[in-house]
Amino acid sequence: MEQSYESAVGTIQRILGLYFVKCLKGGKMSDSDSDDWSEEWIPYSERNEWADIVPIPQDDGEHPIVAIAYSPKFREVFDYFRAVLAHREKSQRALELTADALRLNPANYTVWQYRRDILRALESDLYEELDYLDEVIRDNAKNYQVWHHRRVIVEMLNDSSKELELTEVALERDNKNYHAWQHRQWAIKTFDLFENELSFVDRLIAEDIRNNSAWNQRFFVLKHFGFTSDVVQREIQYTMNRIRVVKNNESAWNYLGGILKYEDNGTGNCHQEVLSFCEELYTSGVRSPYLLAFLIDLYRDQCLQQSNVTESDVLSRKVFNLCNDMSKKYDIVRRKYWQYIAEQFKENLAEK
């Protein structure tokens, strides 16, 4: 009872949280429209508090190349930014100016860098900076600079309590966002947040079984805890079950191959189980190129370890037949590769 009360409240909070975020996201779309802030926009040249600053125009030289047709606002904001940078002014108004500049071009790493210098000099409240970043990241989730800035601020605060939620929200929008995964991995590694990551990954794989980023994250988590034989056994079952659902899913096949290779004791017991699984699929008529490629690997390794000549012949014939099928029927785009694999194998056999 106690458990369920807590988990129910947790669930509601989580749902409300996500709902709230989604509302914000929905509302944000129109907000971030560049025209939206121009109505109340007062040029810096007309602001009294900036009267002491002489803007510095961009020096493109006499013969500008790849000259961008800047909007007047863009030009002015950066003219003022250049002036502030030249004076090394670190003030509240300079901080606000960087926000305007970053709104116009969030990829300007110089502005971000200078913003960090200002934050350090003013000893600003970095939690406010995190709130600001929540918004900026929401609008620019595929930008190197915003995520890097976030990382530096989190490092300065030494507080990673909001990072899992932040990246979760970003991954809700785009479950393969490379930057979000990168930030998440960094936070998990730096602040040892591995504990619940496997269930998070489980959920994402359940939502989209082809999400390769989630499979990669699964590997990352397990590598941390170590590939003991129990873990390998469990992961092989997990992956085989998912291949049964979607047979032509490269992510799952690659993961299976990765797990087998990283197996700690290297006894190869698991290979037998995987081999039976693959043969079962093959017999039932599945001809996914990933399955066939996997069988080629397994038969090839077995054959090269086999000392019995008859057994070895059976296996090698299988390899050659499968390579042939791949290059002629099931994986034509990679026909030259499968011919190469067959040739390599022939050489390996001769050396054996």
């Binding site: 106690e2 369920s4 009360y5 669930t11 509601i12 749902i15 510095i56 961009q58 493109d60 030289g61 006499e62 013969h63 500008p64 190349i65 790849v66 000259a67 961008i68 047709a69 800047y70 909007s71 950066f78 940078l85 990829a107 300007n108 790493y109 860098q113 960090r116 190197y144 890097h148 530096v152 393969k176 490379y178 995964w181 990168q182 991995q185 590694k189 939502e207 989209d208 079984i209 082809r210 390769n212 990669n216 590997f219 899913n249 490269e250 992510s251 690659n254 993961y255 191959g257 990765g258 797990i259 990283y262 994986d331 034509i332 785009v333 990679r334 026909r335 030259k336 590769y337 190469y340």
Partner: protein, 482 residues
């Protein structure tokens, strides 16, 4: 009285009833959510299939339109040279408003245009190129390295773009504009103790940083002593970025990705440390990126096709094959389907008004124009220099590109030769204090431990310095394997 939860919270009966109500309510919501989740999952699965279907459909439309048109015009499978040239020429002068987001990548815009122009075999007049050099000098930082625009901080990515651009131009003014001495200082300033590189001081670290730094150092032929010091442990760090799938991620543990994979393997190749990664697994992963239906490459497992990976993945394949050749004899054929890739770019990625694209339905941009054409060039020249594998009209043949730097092979040779002369004087100039090098003897031209790749480069350098016009560039795969 009841205690709920783990805290010392004491609860009255009324509160208990309220809690029960919340619980009931939450149960209803929970069931609702569960149902919705199932619906969502189905919807998502349908969405995933739909998105892929949509891409395939739009590409099928391109292909079938092409199939009809080829009977009317046998030359329909053509590179629209004039359109692309017009597009590039207008962009070199002036970029439209929506390029504001690339205001910190202006040397990139220059590089994409110059490299695409080279591939299409046209050049800009000398005066324009001189203006390009002047502009890039404006982007150069007083402390070394190049910035995304005048007055910005130096950054490795625009530094790479600027150095490549200046070597593409290849005049003595252009080489001087690189200012190798301060460039060297900048490279040391972004190096981390573990051998990785930040993109700028206090910036992010990933494998792009290592590649850009190595490419700049190698292309400007920095002395062996500097290279050794600058890239100590870098190869090991890069090798750690290879994943269980076989490709490289942006940093250790990240997902394998076409762009980072190119950076990783090209960097290892330039350092001659390819043996530090699993080459066979890398080869397989790269080849798996070619989409059976589209013919183009995807950047990651289970993602959509994108024209730019024609280069990132396309160039990685001959580099990887060159390593295998080194180890176990020659490998004559390029193992990916070079025709299918060219067909995808020619039929699906050309915009009617010039420029090339990611996939049908997308707008053209300089980045995709550069890397789709670079990919076509790789596909054409990676098998043999004498018999380029050109799809369609023979006039579709593009000029070759060097797969490790993505600039013309001759530009590489000339740059190496030019900076080799500087190395002769290297012992005379005072070392930057940050380098802390042993400048004892004349060891910079230490020939005994040159890699095959380096020796190829040196040979090229000598050849081009003496018989510039005759210098024939051998095929890309043999060029890095010989």
């Amino acid at each position: 009285m009841l205690r709920i939860g783990a805290g010392s919270f004491v609860c009255t009966k009324k509160m208990y009833m309220q809690a029960r109500q919340v619980q009931k309510l939450s149960k209803v919501i929970w069931q609702n959510i569960r149902r919705q989740t199932v619906d969502c999952k189905e919807m998502l699965e349908r969405c995933v299939v739909k998105i892929r279907q949509k891409t395939e459909n739009s590409i099928e439309k391109c292909f079938s339109r092409f199939q009809q048109m080829q009977y009317l015009d046998p030359k329909v499978k053509k590179i629209h040279r004039e359109d692309h040239q017009r597009y590039l020429e207008s962009m070199l002068r002036r970029l439209p408003l929506h390029y504001e987001c690339l205001d910190s990548s202006r040397p990139w815009n220059v590089y994409w245009i110059l490299q695409a122009a080279h591939l299409l075999n046209f050049t800009f007049d000398d005066e324009t190129l001189e203006h390009v050099v002047e502009f890039l000098i404006k982007c150069r930082h007083p402390n070394g390295g190049f910035a995304g625009g005048p007055g910005q901080y130096p950054h490795l990515a625009p530094t790479y773009a600027a150095v490549n651009s200046l070597c593409l131009i290849g005049t003595s003014n252009a080489y001087r504009a690189i200012d190798r001495e301060s460039l060297m200082q900048f490279l040391f300033s972004v190096r981390e103790p573990d051998g990785s590189f930040r993109l700028h001081v206090d910036g992010e670290t990933d494998v792009r940083g290592a590649y850009c730094a190595i490419s700049c150092a190698k292309l400007t032929n920095m002395p062996e002593e500097v290279i050794k010091k600058l890239f100590d442990k870098t190869g090991d760090w890069i090798a750690r970025c290879q994943t269980y799938e076989g490709g490289f991620g942006g940093a250790p543990d990240l997902e394998a990705h076409g762009g980072y994979t190119f950076c990783g393997i090209a960097a290892l190749a330039l350092l001659d440390e390819g043996h530090k990664c699993d080459i066979e697994q890398l080869l397989k992963w790269n080849l798996q990126r070619q989409m059976p239906f589209e013919g183009g490459f995807q950047g990651r497992t289970n993602k959509l096709v994108d024209g730019c990976y024609s280069f990132w993945v396309g160039a990685t394949i001959p580099i990887t094959q060159a390593f295998i050749s080194q180890k176990s004899g020659s490998m004559k054929k390029s193992l990916f389907d070079t025709s299918a890739l060219q067909e995808y770019i020619l039929v699906c990625c050309q915009k009617a008004n010039g420029g090339l694209i990611d996939k049908p339905g997308k707008p053209q941009d300089l980045y995709h124009t550069c890397y789709t054409l670079s990919g076509v060039s790789i596909a054409q020249h990676s098998e043999s220099s004498l018999n380029p594998q050109v799809l369609g009209d023979p006039a579709n043949e593009l000029l070759p590109t060097h797969p490790l730097f993505n600039v013309p092979p001759r530009a590489v040779a000339r740059s190496l030769a030019h900076f080799e002369l500087l190395n002769d004087n290297f012992k005379d100039f005072r070392n930057p204090s940050s380098c802390q090098l042993d400048t004892g003897g004349n060891q910079y031209k230490n020939d005994c431990e040159k890699s095959s790749i380096e020796s190829y480069m040196e040979v090229e350098g000598v050849v081009s310095a003496t018989e510039e016009e005759e210098a024939q560039i051998s095929s890309v795969s043999s060029s890095i394997s010989n």
